[in-house]
């Protein structure tokens, strides 16, 4: 696979895409994560995402092979048994009948490594309850030994359960060579196991193709390393949905707001017509948010001055009655003092003092002369001293009179200006709630009194008039305060609604802008993703096609390019299947065996990806429901894969081993048999003829069995060895000659007696059984005929001769027949 990460590929494309800044920014943020995208969406979209995507360190995978699988008290296996494997590339078959316990090894390997098993997770409670071997009373244990390329020793992964533990409550550990026990997770295989899945079970073969299309899509996406792309797309898509909703919210909320406004009363409750103006602002094609916000903020901005007026009225103050009474008293006292001066008006005194002062000046120049005013007696010294005293007295009296008059004037001024001039506010409109008429009348009466009334009248009426005015103003003030409050109470919820809507509208406006960016980002990312995806998929698709070509053999189904298509819930793997040249055929026309082959074609590229640390593949029973010709294809395919991978295949019959032998493809074959009480035995069985002969030899020496019984079973194995040799010869010859597999198998199945089978091998004609003995004698000598006869009858009637000699004669005959 290419080494560049998806992120790098996208950033590269992005740099030459010349997207508008906000769109570019969103694409980058979507690759970075949820938080980054959220940040990019809440900002104005202009500033570049803060953090740059980092590239994860890529560890070179260490090639890992399986070395052993040990099972004890688990599934079909009772006492401990170990499947030993050669840790390197090569093909190993484990053949055993269904129920022999062979799948227990596959399951144990998968469970030990993954902690879960595909078969497990999907299975019923009954199955899960049966995980422990019935014939085990002790502990259960599964262990996998792994060998890493270029490292000495074996890494073990072990899971074990005390005898009474539940499946989930077992313990697991891993141990690298020379290291302590450690948690399995520390091996770091969780992700690769998920990505490359080196295990393929029979049940999975069925679901890989027939399962939900989205599952295979996801599996392939993951293997292609496209998770980031998927995440980024998902993030953008989620955001798009959210912003789409949010961009519509203001419009959705508008009818309610308009209804609330239309319910708001007309003048005079709303003399400045705020509700109507708000309506107008809202009904514009692009609502005037500034105007709406201004209206929502409140009374201060309204321009008719009424709230001001009301405010001013409520702050009016008039002098209290005590203050008025005091001022009146002051004026009265001053008046009384003036009245007390009675007859000594200050002017007369001052004039007289002035006359005497002038006379004194005259006296100073003309002492002793007669008074020039009355021409009477002369002005002498005694007159002068009396006159001086009189002048002083007269000046004092004049000053007292002045002071008294001044006091009256001051007191009068104080009283007359005690009440302020009538405020203009009272003359204006007070919203119809407060009536200022009485107050204004009284105010004018007072103004008139204060301006024109004599001090005497003022003193008599001031207290009464001012008290009346004060109570009238109190009334107006209270009315104004009430009007003010009513006015703000009625408007308040409307203002709040307006303010709320304006905020919503601004958010919606932002969302609308972002939505457009998001759509562009998503469109761009999808197109870029499609290219990257198909480029990445190409090598996999190619290998799948090759696998299918190898497996299809006589199938009329052709597999075209594999594509990843659709997205979200529509995502699927598109398999271009052509049946008999008809395109677009459904998978349902394919046989079970073809589907399994197809599944293998999809599984193998993934499990053999070069990035996978696992150099082994464990495939459980791929042969089931494959016809013989496909088994040949499978044998070839597995041998190819085994050239640089360790391939372990579990199989329930001898077809695959037979095909491998016939096609002379190298493989190690293990045979699994299970005794009663779950005693499982494993042994090599690369060559059935040798296997039978070895068994015959072993039994011939088994003194534990009575001699009669020994003779019977030895004869049985000898006959099987001959049958196997003949079958092999016949298959090889006929298939090489181009005969169809099914016809070969029919011919072999029809040859039931040993005579017929050997005749088929010798003459390619089962009906020439009567010529077998002569031919054997001619070609292989008399011992061969003896062995043939003993093998034929020995299982019915006890062979009386030397068993060991019989086996060796048979071995020579079998070797001869195989040539």
């Amino acid at each position: 696979m290419s080494t560049a990460t998806v992120e790098q590929l996208i950033l590269e494309r992005l740099s030459s895409a010349q997207l508008p800044d906000p769109v570019d920014n969103l694409v980058v943020a979507s690759l970075l994560g949820d938080d980054d995208l959220a940040a990019a969406l809440s900002s104005d979209g202009q500033s570049r995402a803060s953090s740059q995507p980092g590239s994860d360190a890529v560890n070179e995978p260490v090639a890992t092979y399986l070395r052993a699988v040990t099972v004890e008290g688990f599934r079909g296996v009772g006492p401990q048994v170990t499947l030993r494997l050669d840790p390197g590339p090569g093909l190993t078959l484990v053949a055993g009948r269904n129920g022999s316990g062979k799948s227990s090894f596959a399951e144990a390997a998968e469970l030990a490594l993954t902690g879960d098993n595909k078969r497990w997770s999907g299975r019923t409670v009954i199955w899960r309850a049966g995980w422990r071997n019935l014939h085990t009373s002790g502990d259960s244990r599964i262990a996998v030994g792994l060998a890493a390329d270029g490292q000495r020793g074996v890494t073990s992964v072990v899971r074990e359960w005390p005898h009474d533990a539940a499946l989930e409550s077992g313990t697991a550990f891993a141990q690298v060579p020379g290291g302590p026990r450690q948690p399995v997770e520390t091996l770091g295989w969780a992700v690769p196991l998920e990505l490359y899945r080196p295990f393929l079970s029979y049940s999975e073969l069925g679901t890989l193709v027939a399962g939900r299309p989205s599952e295979m899509y996801d599996a392939l996406q993951a293997i292609l390393g496209l998770d980031q792309l998927i995440d980024a797309e998902r993030r953008l898509n989620d955001a798009r949905k959210k912003f789409d909703e949010s961009s519509k919210k203001a419009r959705q909320a508008l009818p309610d707001l308009l209804e609330q406004l239309s319910a708001y009363p007309e003048y005079p409750a709303d003399p400045d017509d705020r509700a109507r103006r708000a309506e107008a602002a809202l009904r514009r094609r692009t609502p005037d948010l500034d105007a709406i916000e201004a209206l929502a903020v409140g009374d201060q901005r309204s321009d008719d001055g009424m709230p001001d007026r009301l405010q001013r009225v409520t702050s009016l103050t008039l002098p209290g009655s005590d203050a008025v009474a005091e001022a009146v008293q002051l004026l009265l006292t001053a008046e009384r003092k003036v009245a007390g001066l009675a007859g000594t008006p200050a002017a007369d005194a001052r004039r007289l003092a002035s006359l005497l002062t002038t006379a004194l000046n005259h006296y100073a120049d003309h002492p002793g002369e007669p008074c020039p005013v009355c021409a009477g007696r002369p002005l002498d010294g005694s007159w002068a001293s009396r006159a001086r005293i009189e002048v002083t007295r007269l000046a004092d009296a004049a000053r007292d009179a002045d002071t008294a008059h001044e006091a009256v004037r001051a007191a009068s001024r104080t009283l007359r200006t005690m009440v302020p001039a009538e405020p203009a506010a009272l003359a204006g409109d007070l919203g119809g709630k407060a009536d200022a008429t009485v107050a204004r009348d009284l105010w004018q009466r007072w103004a008139k009194l204060a301006a024109d009334g004599s001090n005497q009248r003022l003193c008599a009426e001031a207290s009464q008039v001012i008290a009346g005015l004060a109570s009238a103003v109190d009334q107006v003030r209270a009315d104004a305060a009430r009007a003010l409050q009513q006015r703000s109470e009625a408007w308040q919820p409307v203002a709040a609604a307006l303010a709320g809507w304006a905020e919503l509208a601004r958010a919606s406006q932002h969302a609308g802008t972002m939505l457009a960016h998001l759509k562009s980002a998503l469109t761009w990312l999808k197109a870029a993703g499609r290219d990257i995806r198909n480029a990445r998929l190409a090598p996999f698709a190619e290998m799948s096609a090759r696998v299918w070509e190898t497996l299809r053999q006589e199938s009329n189904v052709e597999l075209g390019p594999i594509r990843l298509e659709g997205s979200a819930t529509q995502r699927r793997v598109s398999l271009d299947v052509t049946v008999d040249g008809v395109k677009g055929a459904a998978l349902s026309v394919m046989s079970q065996g073809e589907l399994h082959a197809l599944a293998l074609a999809l599984f193998l590229p993934r499990a053999t990806a070069s990035d996978s640390p696992f150099r082994f593949l464990v495939i459980d029973d791929p042969v089931q429901s494959m016809d013989p010709s496909k088994v040949d294809g499978l044998a070839h395919l597995l041998a190819q894969v085994a050239a640089d991978r360790q391939v372990i295949v579990f199989t329930h019959d001898d077809r695959l081993p037979e095909a491998l032998r016939r096609l002379q493809l190298p493989a190690t074959v293990w045979e699994v048999v299970r005794r009663e009480r779950s005693i499982v035995e494993l042994r090599r069985n690369d060559d059935p003829v040798h296997r039978y002969l070895d068994d015959a030899r072993a039994l011939a020496r088994t003194t534990e069995l009575p001699e009669d019984a020994r003779a019977v079973v030895v004869a049985g194995f000898c006959r099987s060895a001959l049958e196997a040799a003949c079958h092999e010869t016949v298959r090889a010859r006929r298939i090489a000659a181009g005969t169809r597999h099914a016809e070969v198998e029919q011919a072999l199945a029809r040859a039931q007696t040993l005579h017929q089978v050997v005749a088929l091998a010798l003459f390619d004609d089962a009906s020439r059984g009567d010529q077998v003995a002569a031919r054997l004698r001619g070609r292989f000598g008399p011992h061969a005929v003896n062995a043939f006869r003993a093998a034929k009858t020995g299982t019915h009637t006890t062979y009386a001769g030397d068993l060991t000699g019989f086996v060796e004669d048979t071995a020579r005959l079998a070797a001869g027949l195989r040539q």
Partner: protein, 116 residues
């Protein structure tokens, strides 16, 4: 060996680990049970219809319902069908399982009683 002896040995192979029989006991067991069945039928025909003993097994099984209980005949056929297949090297078949062998063993054991 009598059928009973053969069945005893077959049972030993089936439920005990006899040295030298590892892995090969299933087929060995099958042959012993098969021989026990053949011997049982031979003895039966010797008393009932001596000519039948020399007939092929297929013919013997076809004759059996005419002489023995119908259920017995069915059991004999079932056991034979399985054992004949298991005892030959057969196209692609692996050795019989312990469960199959136990079934045949039980069937034949029953036949040894029913056919005497």
């Amino acid at each position: 060996m009598t059928p009973a002896d053969l069945l005893t040995q077959a049972d030993r192979l089936l439920n005990t680990v006899i040295p030298g029989t590892q892995g090969c006991w299933p087929r060995a067991c099958a042959w012993l049970i098969r021989l026990a069945l053949e011997e049982t039928l031979d003895q039966y025909w010797a008393n009932v219809l001596p000519e039948a003993a020399s007939c092929p097994m297929r013919a013997q099984l076809l004759l059996l319902p005419a002489y023995a209980d119908i259920g017995t005949a069915q059991r004999a056929r079932e056991a034979w069908t399985g054992l004949a297949r298991a005892a030959h090297h057969h196209a692609y078949d692996l050795a019989p399982t312990a469960a199959e062998l136990r079934t045949w063993h039980t069937l034949v054991s029953q036949l040894t009683i029913e056919l005497t």
